[in-house]
């Protein structure tokens, strides 16, 4: 496919690796923020091909992984309310909540449906006027414009049986939290290309200056990642700390202005708790007062929720890069993609699932370092 295959060319990948070896004089530690990039890096074994001393830490950019337990438990409580249809992206269904998951609830008779786009949930509400349709609106800046449009469209259609359970997260505050964490080893970032396609990269400029870290807006194919790594390492070797754009074919400095306007209209910035990481100030989106009528939290009173993580899961350390899945005792034994104990083992963007699908084993832990 155009714009995919040509960025997977092994010959050009070899060139990039040779150039990277040529410019690297010291060890450097970079973080790729986005789970989609983690997936490419682990699946292609890019981290194992890099010159010695260049280490990739996998970042918190897996939307499925960081959606708070409280939101999942609330979605499950809403799904069990008679007369409701709970809709969600497919990879949310197997994420373990405190007691069960949405897939298991569906098997027990709850009406839980997978949608490809939030607009499908709006259509479902229009076609089922006697049911309440709720969309679990999670994700980063990449899904926020779609979810904003679903709310705007439901308002235009005058729907009173559509609502959204919003738990959006924002990437730049999470990167700042990583940089502020005691013992932070990250010296440069690959910023998430598609987040920047929506938001642009101006937010990163003060961050690069304050923390003196290079930030390279990077795409998702193997050549994109190798070039992003090369650009970040060049900056580090030259003592620069700027925002650069590797992914120029898809990202402009100001992002997508129409999408940003819709986000600003429907959502406001709020503090948000990230699963496994904790509360990060100003790191999420919630509905503005103008659209409060579409807030599923207000529409459904599910009482008090008591949340509980699986005691063996170290997802918090995985999401902040403090540990790799190979450091988790449950990895590959009690916890597999078929029987996930924690969220990072569920979606393709989760680090634990990426490792497992690539066949990485705990026994190989030291060999891969």
């Amino acid at each position: 496919m155009k714009y995919l295959d040509e960025y997977r060319d092994p010959e050009l990948a070899r060139l990039l690796l040779a150039e990277l070896r040529r410019v690297t004089t010291r060890p450097w530690t970079l973080m790729e923020v986005c789970g989609g990039q983690t997936n490419t890096i682990v699946r292609q074994g890019i981290d194992e091909l890099l010159p010695g001393g260049i280490r990739m830490i996998h970042g918190p950019g897996c939307p499925v992984c960081v959606t708070p337990l409280e939101v999942l438990d609330r979605a499950m409580a809403i799904a069990q309310t008679p007369g409701t249809i709970l809709t969600s992206f497919g990879d949310m269904l197997r994420v373990p909540g405190s007691r069960t998951d949405l897939l298991a609830l569906r098997a027990r008779g709850a009406d839980v449906r997978i949608v490809y786009s939030p607009m499908d949930a709006v259509t479902l509400a229009r076609d089922n006027p006697d049911r309440q349709v709720v969309f679990l609106a999670v994700g980063f800046e990449t899904t926020a414009p779609a979810n904003a449009m679903a709310v705007l469209h439901a308002a235009t259609l005058g729907l009173t049986n559509f609502s959204v359970l919003v738990s959006h997260v924002l990437v730049p505050p999470a990167m700042t939290a990583v940089l502020r964490a005691p013992g932070c080893q990250v010296q440069g970032f690959l910023a998430a290309g598609h987040v920047c396609a929506v938001m642009g990269w101006t937010e990163y400029e003060p961050m690069a200056a304050e923390f003196r870290v290079p930030i390279v807006v990077t795409g998702f194919e193997p050549l994109d990642l190798l070039e992003g790594i090369l650009m970040a390492v060049r900056q580090l070797e030259q003592g620069r700390h700027e925002v650069e754009n590797q992914y120029a074919r898809a990202v402009r400095r100001d992002g997508n202005t129409a999408a940003r306007a819709a986000i600003r209209r429907v959502f406001r910035v709020t503090d948000r708790t990230w699963r496994g990481i904790g509360a990060i100030p100003d790191s999420g989106l919630a509905l503005t007062d103008e659209f409060a009528a579409f807030d599923a939290r207000r529409r459904f009173d599910v009482g008090r929720l008591v949340v509980r993580e699986h005691p063996d899961c170290v997802a918090g350390d995985i999401l902040t890069g403090a540990k790799t899945p190979l450091d988790c005792a449950a990895y590959g034994t009690a916890c597999t993609p078929r029987t996930p104990l924690g969220a990072p083992m569920v979606s393709a963007e989760g680090t634990c699932a990426a490792y497992h699908n690539a066949g990485r084993r705990r026994e190989d832990r030291h060999a891969s370092r």
């Binding site: 995919l4 060139l15 490809y116 607009m119 396609a197 929506v198 590797q246 074919r249």
Partner: protein
């Protein structure tokens, strides 16, 4: 959910007051909302996330990136010798 992929816009129309299109992903066709890609028309490539085009692929920039990478080969050849 968060994996955006490029696809070719084959048709553009209006539906319920929204700009929508048909996008071809290597043979798989999907309906995609084009509200955030007002400049996209048939023949353009767009990056699609959860049923929405969030960016129009800039063909000239795409070529430039590949050209830079290929040119690196020549430099390396000189640098590293045969």
């Amino acid at each position: 959910m968060c994996l955006g992929i490029p696809g070719l816009v084959t048709e553009v129309e209006q539906e319920d007051g929204l700009r929508v299109g048909t996008v071809d992903f290597g043979g798989v066709r999907k309906r995609v909302c084009l509200a955030y890609a007002p400049e996209a028309s048939a023949g353009d490539y767009v990056i699609v996330h959860v049923g929405f085009a969030i960016s129009v692929v800039d063909a000239a920039e795409a070529q430039r990136t590949l050209a830079v990478l290929r040119a690196m080969g020549d430099v390396l050849d000189q640098e590293l010798g045969p």
